[in-house]
């Protein structure tokens, strides 16, 4: 199927080029620029992995004979010799040493004899087929469809690292915020916008955190020295701070349970403190603390403190319910590995929480591959 997608893309490419050819001529730009456009576009698509290496090309002769205004796409691509008349494509992919004695097999010339010589030319890597394919790619100078698309791959590690750092840096305060969920992803996300304010101040203070948001930040203080902790205690105090303080000092979760709970409402705080106790061990190292904070871009006020303040008087405000969604939105803008479907819709309908839609003529980019469809039906549960 990947080949089929490549074939469609190539067809589109050729179609576009042939149709704009007249425009180029009208503008007086000339065929050379058009050929350059085509070559560059094709090169990029190979780099992306949008085109695999083994497809029928009927357009290459166009480069070889640029004078042909009308181009018959039905004519099968002929012979490797003409490929070398595409200087720009060739220059962009200089032949590797392995490839020197062999002609570059540009797509269309799926020459089995070249590919099926496991041990033949000593230029190639030894027998395994995968090596052959690798060497073929080297030979062709063009990444095959299984090579990772560079633009997306280059961005992916950043996203992953950030997320990992998020988890490490935000475990503790986040756990307090999200009563309902225990997953790290949620904690990371629910830290949300408010955490940014604290984050900035953390960075500036180099580990010493002046309390600026007004509520008792249990977890942050505890990661610092005792002096700071005592300072925090004198600032806006919530009863639970005492609880957390002793808990951190003892580095155990149990003391939290032994201390009287003054806020009166949310027993799940016992569980939360238990969780926080586990995470506290990480936070007791100032160095780790700083590092972990630094990695968290969307930092806000740690949640337990906010909840402490809120729950004294009223039910939780659920302020952070949408933070996950917001963070997801930001995350998707940051990473281009987002799975995406672009299509037309014929009908979208809903019955209670069951959504149905019919789509058509779409491109899907999933798991780093492109899939095209003529029709699609969707059933979603909201």
């Amino acid at each position: 199927m990947a080949n089929n997608v490549s074939a469609v893309y190539i067809h589109v490419l050729d179609d576009v080029i042939s149709k704009v050819r007249d425009e180029f001529i009208n503008y007086g730009v000339g065929e050379g620029v058009l050929n350059e456009l085509q070559a560059l576009w094709e090169v990029k698509m190979r780099q992306c992995g949008a085109i695999s290496g083994n497809i029928e090309r009927s357009a290459l002769p166009k480069n070889a004979a640029p004078i042909t205004p009308v181009h018959d796409l039905n004519v099968p691509y002929e012979g490797p010799a003409e490929e070398y008349e595409t200087p720009t494509a060739e220059m962009l992919f200089p032949p590797t040493p392995l490839q020197t004695p062999i002609q570059t097999p540009l797509p269309g010339t799926n020459d089995p004899s070249m590919y099926n010589i496991p041990t033949g030319p000593s230029d190639y890597a030894p027998s395994p087929i995968s090596d052959i394919r690798n060497s073929i790619d080297l030979k062709a100078g063009r990444p095959g469809s299984y090579m990772p698309p560079s633009p997306w791959m280059s961005q992916r590690p950043l996203g992953v690292d950030v997320n990992v750092a998020y988890d490490e840096g935000r475990e503790e305060p986040d756990r307090g915020s999200s009563h309902q969920h225990a997953t790290q992803d949620f904690f990371m996300n629910s830290s949300g916008k408010r955490k940014r304010d604290d984050y900035a101040s953390h960075i500036n203070s180099g580990g010493y955190i002046p309390q600026q948001d007004g509520s008792g930040d249990v977890t942050i203080e505890l990661s610092l020295t005792q002096d700071v902790v005592s300072q925090v205690k004198t600032s806006s105090i919530v009863q639970d701070q005492g609880t957390a303080d002793s808990k951190f000092l003892s580095k155990k979760a149990e003391p939290a349970l032994m201390l009287p709970q003054h806020d009166g409402i949310h027993d799940e705080y016992d569980d939360l403190f238990h969780l926080q106790g586990v995470a506290n061990e990480d936070y007791n190292t100032p160095g780790d603390h700083v590092e972990l904070r630094a990695a968290t871009p969307s930092v806000g006020t740690p949640k337990p403190s906010k909840n402490d303040a809120g729950e004294d008087d009223e039910p939780p405000l659920n302020e952070d319910d949408d933070d996950e969604l917001d963070d997801l939105d930001q995350e998707e803008e940051e990473t281009n590995t987002q799975h995406l479907v672009l299509a037309l819709f014929d009908k979208v309908s809903r019955t209670k929480s069951r959504w149905k839609c019919t789509l058509k003529d779409g491109i899907m980019h999933l798991n780093n591959r492109d899939i095209l469809f003529n029709k699609a039906t969707g059933e979603f549960e909201f």
Binding site: K44, E332, F373
Partner: protein, 115 residues
Amino acid sequence: MRLGFRPTSFSLKYRDQRSSIGMCLTETLDEMVSTGTLSPELAYQVLVQFDKSMTEALETQVKSKVSVKGHLHTYRFCDNVWTFILQDAVFKSEDRLEQVKRVKIVACDSKLLTQ
């Protein structure tokens, strides 16, 4: 130097960042315009033609049918464009199955597509 025009939402769809073919074309055109090889007007013409060709190719060349199932996390309908965000979605086509934790679906109204 970016191309200085505002594409329609539909045409933008295929040139979206994450659609390989559209992105490659846009990048290529950007490079050529910034080096002065290509004029912006001409680049725009190329993109317009690309939209037409892409649409036509999808209509005529592709015959596969796909089914999608998943949990709908977000739905949005604005400017005649549906945007769905699915979680734990499964895409089934004739010969393959793809599973993704999160996917965004952007769909324009097919009835408006009489350009």
